[in-house]
Protein backbone atom coordinates (compact mmCIF):
# COMPACT_ATOMS: atom_id res chain seq x y z
CA UNK A 1 0.00 0.00 0.00
CA UNK A 2 1.33 3.48 -0.83
CA UNK A 3 2.16 5.83 2.05
CA UNK A 4 -0.76 8.05 0.98
CA UNK A 5 -3.09 5.06 1.06
CA UNK A 6 -1.79 4.05 4.50
CA UNK A 7 -2.28 7.59 5.81
CA UNK A 8 -5.87 7.63 4.54
CA UNK A 9 -6.53 4.23 6.10
CA UNK A 10 -5.21 5.52 9.44
CA UNK A 11 -7.37 8.62 9.11
CA UNK A 12 -10.50 6.55 8.51
CA UNK A 13 -9.65 4.20 11.39
CA UNK A 14 -9.42 7.24 13.63
CA UNK A 15 -12.71 8.47 12.18
CA UNK A 16 -14.44 5.56 13.85
CA UNK A 17 -16.21 7.34 16.77
CA UNK A 18 -15.24 4.66 19.33
CA UNK A 19 -11.59 4.78 18.23
CA UNK A 20 -11.70 8.58 18.18
CA UNK A 21 -12.99 8.69 21.77
CA UNK A 22 -10.20 6.33 22.92
CA UNK A 23 -7.38 8.17 21.14
CA UNK A 24 -8.60 11.67 22.05
CA UNK A 25 -8.88 10.67 25.73
CA UNK A 26 -5.15 9.88 25.69
CA UNK A 27 -4.19 13.04 23.76
CA UNK A 28 -6.31 15.58 25.66
CA UNK A 29 -4.21 15.91 28.86
CA UNK A 30 -1.00 16.33 26.83
CA UNK A 31 -2.46 18.92 24.48
CA UNK A 32 -4.01 20.76 27.43
CA UNK A 33 -0.66 20.82 29.24
CA UNK A 34 1.16 22.15 26.13
CA UNK A 35 -1.46 24.91 25.79
CA UNK A 36 -1.20 25.92 29.47
CA UNK A 37 2.61 25.98 29.58
CA UNK A 38 3.07 27.75 26.22
CA UNK A 39 0.46 30.43 26.95
CA UNK A 40 1.76 31.02 30.50
CA UNK A 41 5.37 31.33 29.27
CA UNK A 42 4.29 33.48 26.31
CA UNK A 43 2.34 35.86 28.58
CA UNK A 44 5.26 36.28 30.99
CA UNK A 45 7.56 37.16 28.09
CA UNK A 46 4.97 39.37 26.38
CA UNK A 47 4.11 41.42 29.47
CA UNK A 48 7.33 41.45 31.52
CA UNK A 49 10.33 40.70 29.31
CA UNK A 50 9.70 42.19 25.85
CA UNK A 51 10.81 45.86 25.63
CA UNK A 52 8.55 48.51 24.11
CA UNK A 53 8.93 48.72 20.33
CA UNK A 54 10.78 51.80 19.03
CA UNK A 55 7.75 52.78 16.90
CA UNK A 56 4.74 51.10 18.53
CA UNK A 57 5.79 51.56 22.15
CA UNK A 58 3.92 49.26 24.55
CA UNK A 59 1.07 48.68 22.06
CA UNK A 60 3.34 46.03 20.55
CA UNK A 61 2.18 43.82 23.47
CA UNK A 62 -1.27 43.66 21.84
CA UNK A 63 0.36 41.75 18.97
CA UNK A 64 0.95 38.75 21.27
CA UNK A 65 -2.79 38.20 21.64
CA UNK A 66 -3.87 39.61 18.26
CA UNK A 67 -1.65 37.61 15.88
CA UNK A 68 -2.29 34.14 17.44
CA UNK A 69 -6.05 34.83 17.52
CA UNK A 70 -5.98 35.77 13.82
CA UNK A 71 -3.88 32.68 13.06
CA UNK A 72 -6.41 30.41 14.80
CA UNK A 73 -9.32 32.18 13.09
CA UNK A 74 -7.81 31.06 9.77
CA UNK A 75 -6.55 27.63 10.91
CA UNK A 76 -9.98 26.77 12.34
CA UNK A 77 -11.60 27.70 9.03
CA UNK A 78 -9.06 25.58 7.14
CA UNK A 79 -9.81 22.64 9.45
CA UNK A 80 -13.56 23.20 9.02
CA UNK A 81 -13.28 23.34 5.22
CA UNK A 82 -11.09 20.21 5.06
CA UNK A 83 -13.45 18.27 7.33
CA UNK A 84 -16.39 19.52 5.24
CA UNK A 85 -14.69 18.26 2.07
CA UNK A 86 -14.12 14.83 3.66
CA UNK A 87 -17.75 14.83 4.82
CA UNK A 88 -19.02 15.63 1.33
CA UNK A 89 -16.73 13.20 -0.53
CA UNK A 90 -16.58 10.28 1.90
CA UNK A 91 -19.95 10.85 3.62
CA UNK A 92 -18.30 10.14 6.96
CA UNK A 93 -20.45 11.49 9.81
CA UNK A 94 -17.42 12.17 12.04
CA UNK A 95 -16.05 14.58 9.42
CA UNK A 96 -19.30 16.57 9.65
CA UNK A 97 -19.08 16.50 13.44
CA UNK A 98 -15.48 17.78 13.28
CA UNK A 99 -16.45 20.61 10.92
CA UNK A 100 -19.46 21.62 13.02
CA UNK A 101 -17.38 21.56 16.23
CA UNK A 102 -14.66 23.86 14.85
CA UNK A 103 -17.04 26.70 13.88
CA UNK A 104 -17.82 28.27 17.30
CA UNK A 105 -14.13 28.19 18.24
CA UNK A 106 -13.12 29.79 14.96
CA UNK A 107 -15.79 32.46 15.37
CA UNK A 108 -14.56 33.40 18.86
CA UNK A 109 -10.89 33.62 17.81
CA UNK A 110 -11.82 35.63 14.69
CA UNK A 111 -13.87 38.06 16.81
CA UNK A 112 -10.94 38.38 19.24
CA UNK A 113 -8.56 39.11 16.37
CA UNK A 114 -10.89 41.89 15.16
CA UNK A 115 -11.34 43.41 18.66
CA UNK A 116 -7.66 43.31 19.62
CA UNK A 117 -6.68 44.59 16.16
CA UNK A 118 -9.04 47.55 16.59
CA UNK A 119 -7.54 48.31 20.00
CA UNK A 120 -4.09 48.35 18.41
CA UNK A 121 -5.29 50.36 15.40
CA UNK A 122 -6.69 53.29 17.40
CA UNK A 123 -3.35 54.50 18.84
CA UNK A 124 -1.25 53.41 15.83
CA UNK A 125 -3.44 54.27 12.83
CA UNK A 126 -5.66 56.82 14.57
CA UNK A 127 -8.82 54.75 13.98
CA UNK A 128 -10.48 51.64 15.37
CA UNK A 129 -11.63 50.54 11.94
CA UNK A 130 -10.91 51.12 8.29
CA UNK A 131 -12.43 49.31 5.27
CA UNK A 132 -9.04 47.98 4.30
CA UNK A 133 -8.75 44.71 2.32
CA UNK A 134 -7.26 42.66 5.20
CA UNK A 135 -9.72 43.95 7.81
CA UNK A 136 -12.75 43.64 5.55
CA UNK A 137 -11.89 40.09 4.44
CA UNK A 138 -11.35 39.16 8.09
CA UNK A 139 -14.75 40.60 9.03
CA UNK A 140 -16.21 38.50 6.20
CA UNK A 141 -14.59 35.44 7.83
CA UNK A 142 -16.54 36.14 11.02
CA UNK A 143 -19.78 36.39 8.99
CA UNK A 144 -18.93 33.08 7.27
CA UNK A 145 -18.58 31.39 10.65
CA UNK A 146 -21.87 32.89 11.85
CA UNK A 147 -23.62 31.88 8.61
CA UNK A 148 -22.24 28.36 8.87
CA UNK A 149 -23.53 27.97 12.45
CA UNK A 150 -26.88 29.51 11.51
CA UNK A 151 -27.23 27.01 8.66
CA UNK A 152 -26.64 24.05 11.00
CA UNK A 153 -29.30 25.43 13.38
CA UNK A 154 -31.81 26.21 10.65
CA UNK A 155 -31.98 22.74 9.04
CA UNK A 156 -33.41 20.00 11.25
CA UNK A 157 -32.24 16.99 9.26
CA UNK A 158 -28.56 16.46 10.22
CA UNK A 159 -27.51 15.00 6.87
CA UNK A 160 -29.01 17.86 4.88
CA UNK A 161 -27.67 20.44 7.32
CA UNK A 162 -24.17 18.95 7.07
CA UNK A 163 -24.28 19.02 3.28
CA UNK A 164 -25.51 22.61 3.03
CA UNK A 165 -23.04 23.82 5.68
CA UNK A 166 -20.18 21.95 4.00
CA UNK A 167 -20.87 23.70 0.67
CA UNK A 168 -20.86 27.08 2.43
CA UNK A 169 -17.60 26.18 4.21
CA UNK A 170 -15.92 25.20 0.94
CA UNK A 171 -17.10 28.28 -0.96
CA UNK A 172 -16.02 30.48 1.96
CA UNK A 173 -12.53 28.96 1.97
CA UNK A 174 -11.73 31.41 -0.85
CA UNK A 175 -11.88 34.16 1.78
CA UNK A 176 -8.99 32.57 3.73
CA UNK A 177 -6.84 32.82 0.59
CA UNK A 178 -7.95 36.43 0.11
CA UNK A 179 -7.06 37.23 3.76
CA UNK A 180 -3.61 35.71 3.36
CA UNK A 181 -2.74 37.56 0.13
CA UNK A 182 -4.81 40.74 0.64
CA UNK A 183 -1.75 42.68 1.81
CA UNK A 184 0.14 41.68 -1.37
CA UNK A 185 -2.70 42.12 -3.87
CA UNK A 186 -3.91 45.53 -2.68
CA UNK A 187 -2.19 48.54 -1.22
CA UNK A 188 -3.61 48.41 2.29
CA UNK A 189 -3.22 50.22 5.59
CA UNK A 190 -2.57 46.85 7.26
CA UNK A 191 1.14 46.07 7.20
CA UNK A 192 2.45 43.43 4.82
CA UNK A 193 3.42 39.86 5.67
CA UNK A 194 6.13 39.97 8.35
CA UNK A 195 6.36 36.37 9.63
CA UNK A 196 5.50 33.73 6.99
CA UNK A 197 7.38 35.26 4.08
CA UNK A 198 10.11 34.26 1.67
CA UNK A 199 13.40 35.47 3.08
CA UNK A 200 12.41 34.88 6.70
CA UNK A 201 10.57 36.92 9.31
CA UNK A 202 11.09 40.67 9.51
CA UNK A 203 10.50 40.73 13.26
CA UNK A 204 13.35 40.86 15.79
CA UNK A 205 13.84 37.56 17.72
CA UNK A 206 12.99 39.27 21.01
CA UNK A 207 9.44 39.78 19.68
CA UNK A 208 9.35 36.63 17.57
CA UNK A 209 9.92 34.11 20.38
CA UNK A 210 7.02 35.18 22.61
CA UNK A 211 4.85 35.37 19.50
CA UNK A 212 5.92 31.86 18.55
CA UNK A 213 5.12 30.56 22.06
CA UNK A 214 1.71 32.22 22.06
CA UNK A 215 0.98 30.78 18.59
CA UNK A 216 1.86 27.27 19.84
CA UNK A 217 -0.25 27.84 22.96
CA UNK A 218 -3.29 29.11 21.01
CA UNK A 219 -2.96 26.24 18.49
CA UNK A 220 -2.82 23.65 21.29
CA UNK A 221 -5.74 25.36 23.04
CA UNK A 222 -7.79 25.26 19.84
CA UNK A 223 -6.94 21.55 19.36
CA UNK A 224 -7.84 20.83 23.01
CA UNK A 225 -11.22 22.57 22.83
CA UNK A 226 -11.95 21.16 19.35
CA UNK A 227 -11.40 17.57 20.53
CA UNK A 228 -13.68 18.14 23.54
CA UNK A 229 -16.39 19.64 21.31
CA UNK A 230 -16.16 16.66 18.91
CA UNK A 231 -16.44 14.28 21.87
CA UNK A 232 -19.48 16.23 23.11
CA UNK A 233 -21.19 16.01 19.72
CA UNK A 234 -20.54 12.23 19.53
CA UNK A 235 -22.06 11.73 23.00
CA UNK A 236 -25.08 13.91 22.12
CA UNK A 237 -25.65 11.89 18.94
CA UNK A 238 -25.49 8.69 20.98
CA UNK A 239 -28.12 10.12 23.36
CA UNK A 240 -30.36 10.96 20.39
CA UNK A 241 -29.80 7.49 18.88
CA UNK A 242 -30.71 5.73 22.16
CA UNK A 243 -33.80 7.92 22.64
CA UNK A 244 -34.82 7.27 19.01
CA UNK A 245 -34.50 3.50 19.48
CA UNK A 246 -36.49 3.61 22.72
CA UNK A 247 -39.25 5.65 21.10
CA UNK A 248 -39.78 2.98 18.40
Amino acid sequence: MSSRGAALTNLFELANPKRFLDVSAILLPWIGAIAAVAIAAGLVLALFVVPPDYQQGDTVRIMFVHVPAAWIGMVAYGAMALASLLGLVNRHPLADVAAKSAAPLGAVFTALALVTGSLWGRPMWGTYWVWDARLTSFLLLLFLYLGYMALWSAIEDEVRAARAAAILALVGAVDVVIIKYSVDWWSTLHQGESIFRAGGPLISPIFLWPLFLMAIGYTALFAFLWLIRIRTEILERRVRAVLGREAR
Partner: protein, 53 residues
Amino acid sequence: MLLHFLAMGGYAAFVWPAYAASFVGIGAIAWTTVRDYARAKRRLKQIDAEVRR
Protein backbone atom coordinates in the same frame (compact mmCIF):
# COMPACT_ATOMS: atom_id res chain seq x y z
CA MET B 1 7.27 50.39 39.52
CA LEU B 2 3.82 48.73 39.49
CA LEU B 3 2.13 51.94 38.33
CA HIS B 4 4.73 52.31 35.61
CA PHE B 5 3.99 48.76 34.44
CA LEU B 6 0.22 49.28 34.55
CA ALA B 7 0.53 52.54 32.60
CA MET B 8 1.98 50.62 29.61
CA GLY B 9 3.84 53.69 28.40
CA GLY B 10 0.60 55.66 28.18
CA TYR B 11 -1.24 52.97 26.18
CA ALA B 12 -2.95 51.21 29.13
CA ALA B 13 -6.40 52.09 27.73
CA PHE B 14 -5.63 49.91 24.68
CA VAL B 15 -3.28 47.19 25.96
CA TRP B 16 -5.28 46.04 29.00
CA PRO B 17 -8.68 45.91 27.25
CA ALA B 18 -7.05 43.78 24.51
CA TYR B 19 -5.80 41.30 27.13
CA ALA B 20 -9.09 41.46 29.04
CA ALA B 21 -11.11 40.76 25.87
CA SER B 22 -8.85 37.78 25.06
CA PHE B 23 -9.16 36.44 28.61
CA VAL B 24 -12.96 36.81 28.66
CA GLY B 25 -13.49 35.46 25.12
CA ILE B 26 -11.26 32.42 25.52
CA GLY B 27 -12.49 31.84 29.08
CA ALA B 28 -16.12 31.90 27.94
CA ILE B 29 -15.66 29.45 25.04
CA ALA B 30 -13.51 27.14 27.21
CA TRP B 31 -16.09 27.20 30.00
CA THR B 32 -19.08 26.47 27.70
CA THR B 33 -17.10 23.72 25.94
CA VAL B 34 -16.26 21.92 29.19
CA ARG B 35 -19.76 22.50 30.63
CA ASP B 36 -21.48 21.06 27.52
CA TYR B 37 -19.17 18.04 27.57
CA ALA B 38 -19.89 17.31 31.25
CA ARG B 39 -23.63 17.72 30.57
CA ALA B 40 -23.53 15.31 27.58
CA LYS B 41 -21.59 12.71 29.59
CA ARG B 42 -24.07 12.95 32.47
CA ARG B 43 -27.06 12.68 30.11
CA LEU B 44 -25.68 9.61 28.30
CA LYS B 45 -24.92 7.89 31.61
CA GLN B 46 -28.43 8.66 32.87
CA ILE B 47 -30.09 7.37 29.69
CA ASP B 48 -27.93 4.23 29.64
CA ALA B 49 -29.01 3.50 33.23
CA GLU B 50 -32.68 4.06 32.34
CA VAL B 51 -32.46 1.76 29.31
CA ARG B 52 -30.82 -1.02 31.35
CA ARG B 53 -33.61 -0.89 33.95
